[in-house]
Symmetry: C2
Subunit: 306 residues, 2 copies
C-alpha cells in the first residue's frame, strides 16, 4: 500500500463559477488523487478544495490547480473578507493513515520547488515546513496580505523562502507547508457588528489566552447580513469542537447575539465527529469502530480480492 | 463484489466470561465474516454481537455461535432484566451496501432451517420475515418469554413458525428475521424507581402515541443502582437520536431525574452520527462524505489494486 496524504489548497476565488469549475476540473485530473470536498464562499471570495491520494498524485493534481489559478486569478482586482497573499493562497499537506509529517514536509518542499520553477510564484513556508519560527503561523503573512507584501517582499522580514524576491504580478505568493490535521470551523452570528465577532475571536483564541490550539478571526459576511467567527482548531483531540461552539454561545450571549448556523470546511477524521457525538449524547463508550461505513469499505476490499 | 450483510445475534448470556469468550471465538471462526462489535450486560444477562461480511460467511459464523450457545446456556437457570425466549434469543439479518431486504429475508430463512435441522431449536419469524402480521414485533414473544412459551408453544397463538412445536429443553426458541438497520440506544437514569423508566418508555414509544419508529421499555439495572430506558429506534432517519435523548431529558425532568449516561449497542451508519452532529453543532451542510476514514479505505483499495 502506498502512503496517503491529504492536501487542502485554498484559492483566492469564491465567486466566478467558471473559474471554480476550471479549478475543480484541474484538481480532478490525476488518477489516484481524489477530490473529496469543495467549498466556496462569495463573501470570503475564496475556495477550499480537499484532495486525498498518493503523495505524487496529489502533488501533481495541486500543480494542475495552481496552473489554472495563476492563469485565471488576478490578485490586483481580487476583493474579499478573508486575508490572502496569492491566487494559490495556501497549500497544506497533511498526513493520512500511516504517512508521517516528515513525508509531508518533503512533499511540500517538492511542490514548492515545482511551483517556483513552473509559475515563478514565490513561496513562504509555514507550519511544520517553516524555515523561521515566526513564520510557523499563517497569521504572519495574512495580517499584512498581498498588497503589503507586493511592496515589502524585498525586505528581510518579508523575503520569500523560495523563488523570486518579487511577488508574481497577478498571482502574488503562496504559503506552503506540512501540518497535522485541523478542523476549519465557522460560526455565523445574527448581527452585522463585526466588533462582536472580533471580541469573541479574541476571547477564544489561544494567542490571547483562550482555548488551546484555537485560532480565530472575525469575518464580515456582507451579502448575508451576518458576521462570522472563523476558527482553525489545530488540536481537536485537546480542544474538541463542542467546547469551541459552546464557548461561542457563552460569549455571544453577553451581547444578546445568537448563533445562526455553523459550517465545517473540508473533511475531518471520524474521531472528531465521535468526540462531539459522545459529549452531546452523554455516551460513555461509543467508538469509531461502531461506524458501519468503514467496515463496509474494508469488506469490499476483502471480498474483491478473492 | 459480493453483497454484504450485517447480523446482530443476541445471546442470553451477559455474565460468565468463559461463555462470552467461547461465543466470540465461535462467531469469529469464519473468514469473510468480521466480528465488528461486542457488548455484554450483567443486569440484562445478555450479549449482543455484530457480524459483517458476505451472506454465506455471516450465516455460517452465526450458526457456529448458535452451536456454542445451545451447548453452554440453559434458559431454565437464566435470570436477567431483559426479556428473552431462548439461548440464541434474536437473530436479525440486516442489508448493507447494495444488498436488499429481500436477500436478507432469504438468508434468514436459510439460517432458520439450519438452526432447526442442526439443533432442534424452533424458530419464530419476526419483522420482515414474519409469517403472521402480529409477529412482526418482537414484543409479541418478549412480553410472554421463555417460561410462558415453554408451556404454551403447542397452542395456535404461540406455535413456532418452523421446527418442533416444543421448545428446546435448555435453549428455548429463537426469533429470526430480516430487518432494516435500527439503532439500539439505552439511557440510564439516576433513580432506582423502575416506574419512572417505564413511564418515560411509554411516553416516547410509538405504540403508546410517542415518536414514530421508537420502541422502548424500562429495565432495572440492579447492580448499578439505576434504571434504564432501552430503545430500538427503527427509523433513525425519521426520528433522529438527538430527539429521543432530548425527549427523555424532558420527561425525566418532571420527576427531578437526570440522565447519567447513555450507550449505543452495536454499530450504526455514519448518517445517524452525522444527523446528530449537525443538530447539536447547528451545521447546515456537513455531509458523510466529509469524513476522512471512508475515503482512506477506498484509497487503500485503489492504490492496492495497482
Amino acid at each position: 500500500m502506498s502512503p496517503l496524504v491529504k492536501c487542502v489548497p485554498n484559492f483566492s476565488e469564491g465567486r466566478r463559477q467558471k473559474v471554480l469549475a476550471a479549478l475543480a476540473e484541474a484538481l480532478s485530473s490525476v488518477p489516484q488523487a481524489l477530490l473529496t470536498n469543495f467549498s466556496a464562499d462569495a463573501d470570503h471570495n475564496r475556495s477550499v478544495f480537499t484532495l486525498m491520494g498518493t503523495p505524487l498524485a496529489v502533488k501533481e493534481a495541486v500543480l494542475q490547480g495552481a496552473r489554472c489559478a495563476v492563469a485565471l486569478i488576478d490578485l490586483n482586482v481580487h476583493r474579499g473578507a478573508h486575508p490572502r497573499i496569492g491566487a494559490v493562497d495556501v497549500v497544506p499537506f497533511v498526513p493520512l493513515a500511516e504517512t508521517t509529517l516528515e513525508q509531508c514536509r518533503a512533499l511540500a518542499h517538492e511542490f514548492a520547488e515545482q511551483l517556483v520553477a513552473e509559475f515563478n510564484v514565490p513561496v513562504y513556508f509555514y507550519e511544520e515546513s517553516a524555515q523561521r519560527p515566526e513564520r510557523r503561523d499563517l497569521a504572519y503573512f495574512r495580517q499584512v496580505g498581498f498588497e503589503f507584501l507586493r511592496e515589502h517582499s524585498g525586505e528581510e522580514l518579508y523575503r520569500p523562502d523560495l523563488g523570486p524576491t518579487q511577488l508574481h504580478p497577478t498571482a502574488g505568493a503562496t504559503a506552503v507547508g506540512a501540518r497535522k490535521p485541523l478542523v476549519a470551523f465557522n460560526v455565523n452570528l445574527d448581527t452585522t457588528d463585526i466588533t462582536i465577532a472580533q471580541r469573541i475571536a479574541r476571547a477564544l483564541r489561544e494567542r490571547d489566552g483562550g482555548l488551546r490550539g484555537v485560532k480565530a478571526m472575525g469575518v464580515n459576511l456582507a451579502t448575508r447580513g451576518m458576521v462570522q467567527v472563523s476558527f482553525n482548531i489545530v488540536e481537536p483531540d485537546v480542544t474538541p469542537l463542542y467546547r469551541v461552539l459552546e464557548n461561542v454561545r457563552l460569549e455571544a450571549a453577553r451581547f444578546g447575539v445568537a448563533v445562526v448556523e455553523t459550517e465545517i470546511i473540508g473533511t475531518l477524521s471520524s474521531q472528531v465527529l465521535v468526540d462531539t457525538f459522545n459529549y452531546y449524547m452523554q455516551l460513555r463508550t461509543f467508538e469509531t469502530s461502531q461506524i458501519d461505513d468503514v467496515w463496509i469499505e474494508r469488506l469490499k476490499t476483502m471480498t474483491h480480492d478473492q
